[in-house]
């Protein structure tokens, strides 16, 4: 039965499998686009910084949803925790941004670990409900703790210091844009490493067939908790970026809308592809910005229509659509 020598095409397939983690040229595209956008749209850099920070939020969601298959409608819990951590620090005489980001990541990671240890015992709709509840509880906590968070009025008086004591956040959002881009780059490299690591592959296994993962002896719950914690920390960094660049934090960071919108943006881009957030987030946020300017009254209707068209004609998001078109082009040749 066994072949005496492997046919070359099988060896090639094996090598491709072993080399899958290497950077492909196409992966430079989002970063080139980011650099180009800096020069082409100098008037929109503040929006750009928000988009970049939100991409990081989407990336963190992709890690749990797209790779580990953990369905959540409460990722704002970690985004909000990060935002409030950085915000409260900056409002209480510690405006150093980098350490603020680290503190936000740690705080959100801790919340992710503590809540994940409890709720990840469940799955499916039960889990979905519990993720919702965690975000709602934190929202209510922030609402009531007015002396720390400012409650419903939002957190006032943030003073974010210049980065490395040199680069002051400017009105045009230039520094904010570069700051967010660099933080996104570092986090993306980390997420990419995790996704292609044996741990990341085992997450894919959990998503594809959790029964089988148990049967091959994988510590499924521990793996889920680890990735949930990492994702929560990244979402926290993302929230901190938004807080630091906007110099304001409101209760909205914990809202269901925050959790839901990022999910929609990720679905538009494509789930479990590592780049879904890089496509879906700018698309959604730019569309939102344009629609609300063109049609301030009914812009949400246009967003909704856009979503329906996406879901009907582009299952698997923009990335899925692109792949299908590429396949069709290549087939005849």
């Amino acid at each position: 039965m066994a072949q005496p020598s492997d046919p070359p095409e099988q060896r090639a397939a094996l090598d491709a499998f072993a080399r899958r983690h290497r950077l492909r040229p196409v992966e430079a595209l989002p970063w080139l686009a980011m650099i180009a956008a800096y020069f082409v749209f100098p008037d929109y850099l503040a929006l750009g910084a928000q988009i970049l920070a939100t991409i990081l939020f989407g990336l963190s969601l992709d890690l749990v949803l797209g790779y580990a298959g953990i369905i959540t409608l409460g990722h704002a819990a970690f985004f909000g925790t990060g935002a409030y951590t950085a915000g409260v620090l900056a409002a209480h005489h510690w405006g150093e941004p980098i350490s603020g980001l680290v503190a936000a990541g740690l705080a959100a990671g801790l919340v992710g670990f503590a809540t994940g240890a409890v709720i990840l015992r469940t799955s499916g709709l039960t889990l979905l409900m519990q993720t919702l509840v965690v975000a709602a509880m934190l929202s209510e906590l922030a609402n009531k703790a007015t002396s720390v968070t400012g409650g419903a009025d939002g957190l006032q008086g943030m003073d974010v210091w210049p980065i490395f004591g040199t680069f002051r956040f400017d009105l045009f959002g230039r520094v904010a844009y570069i700051y967010c881009a660099l933080v996104l780059l570092i986090c993306w490299l980390a997420v990419r490493a995790v996704v292609y690591s044996p741990f990341g592959r085992s997450l894919t296994g959990i998503r594809e067939n959790v029964l089988r993962m148990h049967a091959i002896g994988a510590p499924v719950r521990r793996r889920k908790l680890v990735v949930y914690t990492i994702s929560a920390a990244l979402a926290g960094v993302s929230g901190a970026l938004i807080a630091q660049t906007a110099q304001f934090v409101g209760l909205g960071v914990y809202s269901l809308q925050q959790s839901g919108t990022i999910l929609i943006m990720l679905i538009i881009g494509g789930i479990g592809q590592l780049y879904g957030a890089f496509i879906g987030v700018p698309l959604y946020m730019i569309a939102q910005d344009r629609f609300s300017e063109i049609d301030p009254v009914y812009w949400y209707f246009w967003i909704g229509l856009f979503m329906i068209v996406m879901v009907i004609f582009a299952r698997g998001g923009v990335i899925g659509l692109g792949e299908r078109i590429l396949r069709r082009i290549r087939k005849p040749s």
Partner: protein, 266 residues
């Protein structure tokens, strides 16, 4: 010196006598419904043992109890003499107790070789690594390929599992289990859903399993059972009806009544 030799041979004799897998008065009730009642079962070292019984006899529940998917209401499960009743599913697999599934439970969208590589990475403990790319771990990939080659599946190694013929998926299921280097292998209806023309390949693979693995086959296909098993246990309504050599089971009147007679002759 001779005392030492005696000791060693005594230990060897004891370990040879210890069954690979044993259940003692194993019980499980779903409310008032018993799915396992007082099952005393021994799977000897290197055995080819079949567990048969009509639908709803509790065969799959028995597998789920032994592998830790279900927690028994009472009784003990021993693996090579060690009590594993309270251990997690993963801990049982680490000790060499491995199962396959009635309905192919593979990572369907992943390639065949990745299915096997995932199992090897869990076995050798590299699966927890968060940083180094999986592709840099050449040894598990090479091992997976070598295993597929010996099983005659290497020609489809790079294809996603959902593209394979169903019979090949069943073989792949066994391949993933073998990658874990099991001491005890539970095959849950290895030929279920496979067209009769393709069962030959499955029987071949089971026949060629390493002799030191104790194999328990849960199966409906009587041809397969009588070809492979050297011992058969008949389970009816959650309890052991009879256990014995295939010849005796085939001749037993009770078995014919409750089980063999029910089915169309093949």
């Amino acid at each position: 010196m001779s005392a030492l030799t005696n000791n060693i041979s005594a230990v060897e004799a004891a370990s040879a006598a210890t069954p690979s897998l044993e259940t003692q008065r194993l019980c499980k009730n779903f409310g008032a419904l018993p799915v396992a009642s007082d099952i005393d079962f021994r799977l000897e070292r290197g055995a080819r043992h079949a567990l048969i019984g009509p639908n709803g006899a509790g065969k799959t529940s028995f597998v789920n109890l032994v592998t830790g998917v279900l927690t028994p209401s009472a009784g003990r499960i021993l693996l090579g003499g060690e009590d594993i009743t309270q251990l997690s599913r993963a801990a049982r697999v680490k000790r060499g107790l491995v199962r396959t599934f009635q309905i192919s439970a593979l990572f369907r969208r992943l390639s065949l070789i990745e299915n096997v590589t995932l199992a090897i990475a869990e076995r050798d403990g590299t699966a927890g690594d968060l940083i180094r790319p999986a592709g840099r771990y050449r040894a598990p990939i090479e091992e997976a390929y070598a295993l597929l080659e010996t099983l005659g599946l290497a020609d489809e190694a790079a294809r996603p599992v959902y593209e394979l013929a169903y019979g090949r998926q069943r073989l792949a299921d066994i391949a993933v289990s073998l990658a874990l280097k099991p001491k005890v292998l539970l095959l849950d209806e290895p030929a279920a859903g496979v067209p009769s023309g393709e069962t030959g390949a499955i029987i071949d693979m089971i026949e060629r399993l390493p002799a030191d693995i104790a194999v328990l086959i849960i199966e409906h296909d009587m041809d397969l059972v009588f070809r492979l098993a050297n011992r058969i246990t008949v389970l009816v309504q959650g309890g052991v009806l009879i256990e014995g050599k295939p010849r005796d089971i085939a001749a037993d009147v009770q078995v014919r009544q409750v089980y063999l007679g029910e089915r169309d002759p093949r």
